[in-house]
Symmetry: C2
């Protein structure tokens, strides 16, 4: 049997009391996402199906900041971003600022496969979801007690200037290699508590928080979204590997610990290449992550 | 005196009767944009000021598809995207789906310099423009007779499926090197006639249609926006140059004519490096472009 492999991430950044006290729930969610994707790969399914469904399981899990459990922006609204990329066809789909779509990653995939667009936003994206009968939910579905508390806490302490300077993270994502040797990546986010409405992060920017190419690797990125955009993190890893013909882990280490060693903020990635090798790298206190390689036991980690 | 250099682009793609019959107007607009930026550079101004003002002059020119003269989406509305990147500070700003902002590139610069955000969209971006007293215009300011004709023509012939499969281009942009040796790039667009509302192209995606880094070069891209996003064109040129230590023109040629030789669609770039060398490359019938290097005469071209 050819190698199969899947990795998922549930965000990188600082530790918190909430994370500490919900470790087992987070680990269970990461494990469920890996198992969902792995089952598809083992049955001969595509990497694309595996990453979409792994991300869907994290979007449906209220502990993670994507889909249900998304952060509330400074208007108290949920706006979600997501993207997916097919390493075989070199095609991608992305959505930003979508509301009411239960699984933004599925809408991103619809856009990739059924339109000539790559990147669709706001009301236009929602219209496609309605037109195509993708699952929708009311506003209250997405809002959890934890995110309401975060919103209220931030709202009390943030003035206009603090909102403009707000650091932003909170993401989920998956990368996979299927039996046919194809790669795929997907990333999804619910944004950051009390951030400006309309703020777009790396999760829907192809090359920043998501990239896949069968000639190198598939990458899902997380951390301070703005840093991932400016430094084009996911694509840097893939293009470095392509041009230097080095190992995936070396490419991840180079991009995060050398080329971007001076950035002030958090960057984390999970990645997989066409042989099933995994790349895991982050410069932050923690990165929620899990993976499963062939028949090996699943690995689930939060801290270093 | 150190080298100074500026190049501008006004879109790449197929030829048209409208372009043929308005050649002198287009050339005048490109020349004006170059002169606007060059004057700033010659006076010791920054590359950032030069590209912002060169792009503003194209946004203000109704012949070009950005700012005044933007295309109408399938709702008959103008939604604009723009981005700017500072090669010295490795910082960037981008806006998508903005309405009523006279110069989207100036809003992108405001976001870069005054917020921790990189990428802001829709109503949230418009609110910042209002809050900061950036110049606004009513809807009618942006709409030209030519774009109304294009919209009506496309609306008659496009069904829903044709809209989903629509190819998209029409951009302006500038790159510059200043006396201090700093690079900057900026790109702006009004979208495509009768396209889905919410469609985001490469012009506001850092790494796709805009990238600048003093360690390599500044690039503004144009053509089929989706191809520039998926293939991360602007950043590919810069990172290739950085890793291979090759000339800028070689990097442009490699990315467009080799790495992406099989793409079905139009890609064009203008670029400048820290020595003032220009890179100009496109695979399409035409690319509106102009440049001025030190005291050399200005060059203005539309066809090959």
């Amino acid at each position: 049997m050819n190698n199969i492999s899947i990795a998922v991430q549930g965000g990188a950044g600082e530790d918190s009391e909430f994370i500490k006290s919900h470790q087992s729930g987070y680990k269970k969610g990461l494990e469920d996402a890996v198992n969902t994707g792995y089952k598809i790969l083992k049955g001969g399914g595509s990497a694309l199906d595996a990453v979409e469904n792994a991300v869907r399981s994290l979007e449906d899990n209220p502990l993670f900041n994507s889909g249900r459990g998304s952060a509330l922006n400074n208007k108290g609204e949920v706006e979600m971003d997501a993207s997916i990329m097919d390493g075989k066809k070199n095609n991608a789909g992305a959505v930003s600022m979508v509301r009411n779509v239960k699984n933004p990653v599925t809408l991103a995939r619809f856009i990739m496969e059924n339109t000539s667009h790559v990147f669709l936003s706001g009301a236009g994206a929602l219209e496609i979801a309605k037109e195509e009968d993708l699952a929708l939910e009311g506003d209250s579905y997405f809002i959890t007690e934890h995110q309401v508390e975060e919103f209220i806490k931030d709202r009390k302490q943030d003035d206009y200037n603090a909102i403009l300077k707000k650091r932003i993270h909170g993401t989920v994502g998956a990368v996979a290699l299927d039996k046919a040797g194809n790669l795929a990546a997907a990333t999804s986010t619910g944004g950051t508590p009390n951030c400006l409405d309309g703020r777009i992060g790396d999760s829907c920017v192809i090359g920043a928080g998501c990239y896949a190419n069968n000639s190198s690797c598939a990458v899902s990125g997380t951390g301070d979204g703005e840093l991932l955009i400016i430094n084009v993190i996911a694509y840097s890893i893939a293009f470095y590997m392509e041009l230097k013909n080095c190992s995936l882990q070396d490419a991840c280490d180079y991009v995060i610990h050398q080329r971007n060693m001076d950035v002030e903020g958090d960057i984390g990635v999970i990645a997989v290449d066409t042989r099933g090798n995994l790349g895991v790298c982050f410069n932050s206190e923690r990165m929620h992550r899990a993976w499963k390689n062939n028949e090996e036991k699943i690995t689930v980690k939060i801290y270093k």
